[in-house]
């Protein structure tokens, strides 16, 4: 266990595990808001639906 490489890998493993968890919840929440904004912008930019043709008499 005294191998310095073991210590380096332990630090990398446990910090990346924590960082991964943080990213999922923090970035996930923020990205969700950005996705909602993107969809809202796209909805506004959508061309209006053309009026239906008049029914045949």
């Amino acid at each position: 266990m005294k191998d310095p490489f073991v210590l380096v890998w332990a630090v990398l493993l446990f910090t990346s595990l924590g960082w991964y968890g943080f990213l999922v919840f923090y970035i996930g929440a923020k990205a969700g808001k950005e996705l909602k904004t993107l969809i809202a912008d796209l909805t506004l930019a959508r061309p209006p639906t053309p009026p239906a043709p008049p029914a045949p008499r």
Binding site: W9, L12, T15, W19, Y20, V24, I27, A31, E34
Partner: protein
Amino acid sequence: MTLSPIDWIIVVVYVFGCLFAGLWMRRFIRGVDDFTIAGREVHVNLGIASLAATEMGLVTVMYTAQLGYEKGFAGEVIGVIMAAAFLVVGLSGFVIRPLRDAGVMTIPELFEQRFSHRVRWLAGVFVALGGLLNMGIFLRLGGDFLVHATGMPASWLESVMTVLLVLVLLYTVVGGMLSVLVTDYLQFILVGIGIVTTSVMVIINIGWTNLITTLQATWAASGGTAPHPFNPAHPTSFGWGYLIWMFVFQLAVVTTWQTTISRVLATKDSGTATKMYRRVSYYFVGRFLLPGLWGVAAFVYFSQHGGLPAGLNSMTAMPRYLSAVLPIGLMGILVAAMIAAEMSTISGYMLTWATVIYNDIITPCLRTPLSNRGQLLLTRMILLGIAIFLLFFGLWYELPGDAWTFLAVTGNIYLASVFTLLLAGLYWPRANSTGAYAALILGAIGPLTFLVLAKVLPAHQIPAEVAGGSSFALAFLGMVVGSLVSRAPAQALHPQPTP
């Protein structure tokens, strides 16, 4: 252990929820810009989620676990190198800032502005060739995971691969990048939860001290001839030659790999792109190290349980190990997460290579430009063609060695030459079309030789680091000599920021 009904319900609900979300985005597609780069409206956090989801595929989990099984933690040093490359580029803006400011849709498009129409076309061919060969093994590795993790009969592998591909194709063809963004977001959340909980369960199951002492004891018992499980520079592990190749390779990946760069080109501006790179960088340590931990744990588990069972190898040991130790419910979440990872990667990659084929290979050859509707139809037909190629290539091709080396060498077909063209095009005013042609052709020689020798003369195989490293050296040499022996270009490129 096979999946329980609860596990299957989790998997089916997720897959169809994702499919519905992807199909729903079809209504917002107005033209080919929306379809391929989401109208350049992507903000930083959504960009991070999409980039992370696309670059974390089931194929990633399989090859990182294989590296962990064969080389211990030292095998995951590639993730550390990749994270360092993302951070350096994110801090400096190296390549990606002028690239985003140029306002192009693909990298070869920039080469038309800087070099010539024909250089763009040839670069497009190399980008598509390297990208499609690279992607060819994704389905096979994904199918291998599902067969060994769920306990389904091996004869179902082809059917499972086909169904998965058809589902992804459905939402990618109708919704393009907008569907990919929505499904990437869902997949980012689910894959993250699946990977974190599985990693915690693996550490609890195998025990950290047991893991380390078993790796040390196994290496000592081999008399130091097995790969060193902790020191990647040790001659029995990667060695310095391979690591130096990887440093250059990863710098090229983060600046020229089209699936990564497509997220840069979809951002609102170059400031958003560099911020995205800085924030996402450390993610790539976990991208390698966490699934790598599962591979290391599988090695320790089977070495303490009578060795690897018949029919398993270093690639399939990890899914079999997880199916033996994960509880009901968590196994369902993991399988759903891995299917999510596969779907996000395949959809993102298919769209990227289809964009290159449409934008850089076919469009420059058309005498009259296509209508908006024609452009969309053509891109969708290319997507269908790529899907058919993936099915047949995935079923037919046998890997020449470990999966990571295959992916690195096929990626290198275009990484060395396109990285050289980008560097010279953006930062060396003397670079010209002659140098660009020489770099493109010389850069592809090493990797293509490696792949051909692996099939034709496996006894005379050259090491991957020689094939990969020489391709960078030859591409640089070709660019410098080719440019200096021919006429200087009329103008260099000075891109201005574009909205």
